[in-house]
């Protein structure tokens, strides 16, 4: 039988995954962790496996948003588990490289893919570059890195380095640090302007700096107060209630609180609402208020 503290540890590790992942797998992942602990697997082991998985997901799924918050959460989680932090540490500025790493930086958002392709070719890395549709602020930024052999836990992976987005907002990724002898193949995804009807890759957090609802005051508001602002955007809104399991088009109860959202495309957004406000979640609120 798992102790409450072990359950909390596993839940904390699952919270390190991107929200889209949690919407899909979160409840099941926590239940699975409970079953494994019931079978005798230690909570620390389960939590560490999730932390490693979350670190890889953050590389793959949404590199360019909430990077600092995510890494802070991962570091906090890892320190709870008591493990080495080599994989998770990420405080090197974009211009720096150590003797064990080579840093590939983007200096122009307009030619990000070309710059990285040239760099990888020059240094004989087996890394491809693919451009994917993104929100305007993410154009020319690194959205994800897909390392090869993603299921092996012992190989080093490229490390994201935060930098300014197109337009100057903070929180995007404009460089990656590669282990000097990185021999695996990988794929780097770069944001490009989305065509009409294309969904954004990610998709990006709509309350993040540079995105449509950053500093809008909507995050944390009761829905009845936020609705005028949301309607003023003249975009299709998909409502996400109860952790993503009940997406719908009809406007939910105005007493619910806005707790998150994603920019889905140039014409549509999703808004997550909950009966619980964000009053006790300073990270979420401060993210929106950092204007």
């Amino acid at each position: 039988m798992a102790s409450p503290s072990q359950n909390r540890l596993v839940e904390a590790a699952v919270r390190c995954y991107p929200s889209a992942w949690r919407d899909r797998h979160g409840d099941e992942a926590i239940e699975l962790g409970g079953l494994l602990m019931r079978d005798g697997i230690s909570g620390v082991s389960v939590a560490w496996s999730y932390l490693r998985g979350a670190a890889r997901q953050q590389l793959v799924v949404r590199a360019s948003r909430r990077l600092a918050a995510t890494l802070a959460a991962l570091l906090a989680g890892a320190s709870l588990v008591g493990v080495p932090l080599v994989l998770l540490s990420s405080s090197t500025p974009a211009s720096a490289d150590s003797s064990n790493e080579v840093v590939a930086s983007i200096s122009s958002h307009n030619d990000a893919a070309g710059q990285l392709e040239s760099f990888f070719k020059l240094h004989h890395y087996r890394i491809g570059v693919e451009e994917v549709p993104s929100s305007p602020s993410q154009v020319g930024s690194i959205l994800a890195v897909r390392p090869d052999a993603a299921t092996t836990d012992d190989k080093p992976v490229p490390r994201m380095i935060a930098g300014p987005c197109a337009g100057g907002a903070p929180g995007c990724v404009d460089a990656i640090a590669l282990p000097l002898h990185y021999v695996a193949s990988a794929e780097v995804l770069i944001g490009r302007p989305a065509k009409t009807g294309e969904s954004y890759y990610g998709p990006p957090d709509i309350f993040a700096p540079g995105e449509l609802l950053h500093c809008s005051g909507v995050l944390g508001e009761a829905l009845k107060q936020a609705l005028p602002t949301l309607r003023g955007l003249h975009l299709e809104v998909v409502w996400d209630i109860g952790g993503g399991s009940a997406r719908r088009a009809a406007t939910p109860d105005g007493q619910l609180y806005v707790v998150g959202g994603d920019a889905l495309s140039a014409t549509s957004i999703s808004i997550r609402v909950s009966s619980r406000s964000l009053a006790n979640n300073d990270n979420e609120i401060s993210r929106d208020q950092r204007c």
Partner: protein, 112 residues
């Protein structure tokens, strides 16, 4: 990206890693959700797959079109192998068997 050809399927599965092969093997006899996959893999392979590794591999296999999610049963999502997944697994196992046969033969010839 969805796998279509034999050669690409084998190559993609090789790059997807050992956990992916174990998952496809487990799903070859019918759909399973995460916990059932872990138990089954432990039984036939002796490997305890970590839950983080499991979900990473499931996401990757699904994005490659090698498995697909079935409607959720309560909070559990069962997965089943697709025809492309079965093709890729069969190709991978054929290749592994050839390597295994050669390895065993050479070990025997070498007297080791």
């Amino acid at each position: 990206m969805v796998v279509s050809g034999r050669e690409s399927g084998r190559e993609v599965l090789r790059r997807a890693g050992e956990a992916s092969v174990l998952i496809l093997t487990s799903l070859a006899d019918g759909p399973k959700h995460g916990y059932a996959l872990i138990l089954d893999i432990k039984e036939f392979a002796g490997s305890q797959l970590g839950p983080g590794t499991l979900y990473g591999a499931l996401d990757r296999l699904e994005s490659l079109g090698l498995i697909e999610a079935l409607p959720a049963d309560d909070r559990r999502h069962p997965y089943r192998i697709t025809s492309a997944g079965a093709l890729a697994l069969r190709d991978h196992l054929d290749s592994a068997e050839r390597v295994s046969a050669v390895g065993r033969l050479r070990l025997a010839l070498g007297g080791i």
